[in-house]
């Protein structure tokens, strides 16, 4: 029985482990001291919390990890691939432990291994008092010579000076102060110029940003590497200093950052500790400096359980349905006050619905760490070298879709590394860089989100697909098949099952499963490939699963819905014309297009007179549907069908304004 407090710890721990994983993957590429410290801090926090809530084993494991990273941070042990591997493994064990799936043996092994790492280092450390952050601090002199009329440009010089002070510890030396500087500012008439000594951990870009509105002639930023720079050509072009003036400035810097000068006069720019106060201000800039592209969001955020969120969404969905019901009831309402109230209710409901659905939107980036780990382990296992680039992962998708996308994406990526990207020496033979390139891109376009997986490997081997297809009896060996057909074959059930099941490929996940999953999200897959150049797989997904624009059609007594984005054309025709021939076909756009009469399909009696034909174009396939007539358009909340019902030709259901239910037609299935 887990009580509420422990539940909170579990939530917190999950978040910490997520951050930890990300930091570790970052560290592989770039051993920044601040990342090492982050890792240390995460371990430390996890250990403390675990201890407090009685998770002894988690505490033990975190403690060992903390020790290892303490050594790394102090420079006693180098951070190598072995340690990162080991740490990632430990993270997996921790994850299991948090979910309650503990394996005593695994735990013992990894603790043992970690202990041996710190033992060879020779020194054990007591966890020190919480260290806040570690960054590299540098010394600069900024020469500021604003034009006398700088105020006339609408620049707030006072604010500028404050911004400089926010960079870090600084001291201003005012030159040519014939009139007190304060008075110059007050009179908005500057005759002085400034020599500003500053120590800061901010990047040069951030420093330059402070002077965004200044003309190049008005400022100069000089980085100081040592005391000799006070007499450098650059410095002397601004001001020539006497020996005692240089000594004066050295003292100033010494006050700004004690220990800045080493014995021989060079400036020490190794990691230094910063006080917490300056840290909170720097926070946003730190995000810019590190490689992690975590988008800083304005405004604070809170965490909400998905259960609460789903409840909210359910209520909003009901509200949307009710709104159309009400609208229907009030159909003939004449009273203007009531009509106006109804309109307002409409606006509010739709506004609420839109807001609620954006809450469910989550950036694709949350899958990033999982994918990175997958790529890492797959490439290692298969002896491939892979460079993983992402772009546009801040693109957002409905939360449930992201969950559903995880497995297909992982499979596509596995395939890309397994079959696409060649071994390093093979690549070199082909004059390609040793490292294969794997790109994951995402972007919005219109109502859809596009996700692309690109690799610069082999390209799809059509010969192999063809021979495999013939082998399995799915293809006729004398027939010619074009690339599109072969790709479709590749994604059909039964094709991929006999693949060698490596630890990587897993069971039962083939391209057919991927296609099925994507289709069930009302998405599409497109494959583009070039021999020896690579492959691009593009997924096109609707922004949200739940809201659908539909056409309401009538067949006998019932209404059905057809997704509007599939409808290409509608027209009316007489029954005799349509059914004149035996073949159920119409000529559309100069082509013969099959049609299905819903009355016929459902076994309802024929209609004489006029019927309506709706031409549907889905996935480049055209099929027409014949109905009694079109009632109108409806934007509705889509509910998927219960799994127990045979899927056949319906892809879901919805509730109409009058409270009746309508099934959503999946036109392509009508033909089967």
């Amino acid at each position: 029985m887990i009580n509420e407090l422990q539940q909170e710890f579990i939530e917190e721990a999950r978040q910490i482990l997520k951050n930890l994983e990300q930091s570790l993957l970052e560290l592989e590429n770039n051993k920044l001291p601040e990342q090492i410290n982050n890792v240390y801090r995460y371990m430390h926090t996890l250990k403390g919390s675990a201890g407090m809530f009685g998770f002894a084993n988690i505490e033990k494991l975190s403690h060992e990890l903390e020790n290892v990273y303490s050594d790394v941070r102090d420079g006693i042990r180098p951070l190598d691939e072995f340690i990162i591997d080991l740490t990632l493994h430990a993270v997996d064990v921790l994850k299991d432990m948090i979910e309650g799936k503990e394996s005593g043996k695994e735990l013992a092994t990894i603790i043992q291994t970690l202990k041996s790492v710190t033992d060879t280092s020779g020194i054990h450390h007591e966890a020190p008092v919480e260290i806040i952050s570690v960054k590299a601090s540098k010394a600069y002199t900024i020469f500021l010579r604003p034009d006398r009329e700088i105020f006339a440009r609408g620049i707030n010089v006072g604010a500028l000076l404050e911004e400089i002070q926010e960079l870090g510890a600084s001291e201003f030396i005012i030159h040519n102060e014939t009139i007190p500087f304060e008075k110059q500012l007050a009179d908005k008439d500057l005759s002085s110029w400034l020599e500003i000594l500053v120590t800061t951990t901010q990047s040069v870009e951030t420093i330059k940003d402070v002077f965004l509105f200044m003309r190049p002639s008005e400022y100069s930023i000089l980085e100081l590497a040592g005391e000799q720079d006070f007499a450098s050509a650059d410095y002397q072009s601004q001001i020539i200093l006497k020996a005692e003036e240089i000594s004066n400035r050295k003292n100033i810097f010494e006050n700004l950052m004690p220990g800045i000068f080493s014995k021989n006069g060079t400036i020490v720019s190794t990691p230094r500790m910063e006080s917490a106060a300056s840290l909170t201000e720097d926070n946003d800039d730190t995000q810019e400096d590190t490689k992690v592209t975590r988008k800083t969001k304005t405004g604070s955020s809170i965490s909400v359980t998905t259960k609460k969120l789903d409840q909210l969404i359910n209520i909003v969905s009901e509200l949307v349905i009710f709104r159309s019901e009400l609208s229907h009831l009030m159909g003939n309402e004449q009273n203007p006050a009531i009509t106006e109230a109804l309109e307002k209710l409409d606006r509010l409901t739709l506004g609420l619905r839109d807001s609620a659905f954006t809450i469910r939107l989550v950036p694709i980036n949350i899958l990033n760490v999982k994918l990175q780990r997958l790529i890492r382990s797959v490439s290692k296992e298969l002896g491939k070298e892979v460079e993983f680039i992402t772009d546009g992962l801040e693109t957002e998708l409905d939360r449930s879709m992201i969950n559903a996308l995880e497995a297909p994406l992982m499979h596509i990526i596995r395939n890309a590394i397994d079959h696409g990207i060649e071994r390093p020496d093979e690549r070199e033979r082909r004059n390609k860089p040793r490292k294969g390139l794997l790109k994951l891109l995402s972007y919005n376009s219109g109502d859809h989100v596009f996700i692309q997986i690109q690799d610069d490997g082999n390209g799809i081997d059509f010969d192999r697909i063809r021979s495999k297809g013939i082998e399995k009896g799915m293809l006729n060996k004398n027939q010619h098949y074009n690339e599109k057909e072969l790709i479709n074959l590749m994604m059909s059930p039964g094709f991929s099952t006999a693949e060698k099941v490596t630890t990587v490929s897993g069971r039962g996940v083939g391209m057919d499963a991927v296609k099925k999953e994507i289709s069930s999200m009302r998405g599409d897959i497109e494959v583009s490939t070039e021999k020896e150049l690579g492959t691009i797989i593009t997924l096109r997904l609707p922004l949200t699963l739940t809201v659908l624009d539909t056409l309401v059609v009538q067949v006998d007594e019932n209404k059905y819905l057809i997704p509007i984005n599939e409808v290409e054309h509608c027209f009316k025709d007489k029954h005799e014309n349509l059914f004149r021939k035996k073949s159920r076909q119409i000529t559309y756009n100069g082509q013969l297009t099959p049609f299905v009469s819903l009355r016929e399909y459902f076994g309802i009696g024929e209609l004489t007179g006029e019927e309506t034909v709706i031409v549907i174009n889905k996935n480049d396939t055209r099929i027409a549907v014949v109905v009694d007539g079109i009632i109108g358009k409806l934007q509705t909340v889509y509910k998927p069908l219960n799994d127990l019902l045979p899927a056949n030709c319906f892809s879901g259901s919805s509730i109409l304004g009058d409270g009746s239910m309508a099934l959503i037609i999946n036109a392509l299935k009508l033909n089967n």
């Binding site: 034009d147 009329e149 105020f151 006339a152 440009r153 609408g154 620049i155 707030n156 604010a159 911004e163 908005k188 940003d209 965004l212 509105f213």
Partner: protein
């Protein structure tokens, strides 16, 4: 809450600028040319002027010149929207009066960064 005047004759551009700023919580007053813009000043508190260069009736250069003569707005930040094709001579004359140029078309994030800095 900061008050911004936006002067731009091209409707679409103006709407985009206005909504971008409004979303950030600024109070935005809009004008389609210099004459309209000038009327928005008239002793009202204005924290920033964003103006296009080419506008009918009264163009950006004249607007800026006139605004600067009014004592209330002598030191108010002014941002000028410019295109690649710069009319060197004319713009040079007003350079001493404006805080910064913003090149059109602009990147929203960059734009907001400059606006927020100008308002400090």
């Amino acid at each position: 809450m900061k008050r911004i005047v936006v002067a731009e004759d091209f409707n679409v551009s103006r709407k985009i600028i206005v909504s971008t700023l409004a979303k950030e919580g600024f109070i935005v007053m809009e004008a389609a040319d210099g004459t309209e813009a000038l009327q928005l000043f008239d002793g009202r508190p204005v924290d920033l002027l964003i103006t296009d260069f080419n506008m009918p009736n009264m163009d950006g250069a004249e607007l800026i010149h006139k605004v600067r003569t009014l004592s209330d707005y002598k030191y108010m930040p002014i941002l000028l929207l410019t295109t690649e094709v710069r009319q060197e001579k004319i713009q040079h004359a007003i350079d001493g009066n404006i805080t910064a140029h913003i090149k059109k078309p602009f990147d929203t994030a960059e734009f907001l960064k400059v606006v927020k800095k100008a308002l400090k």
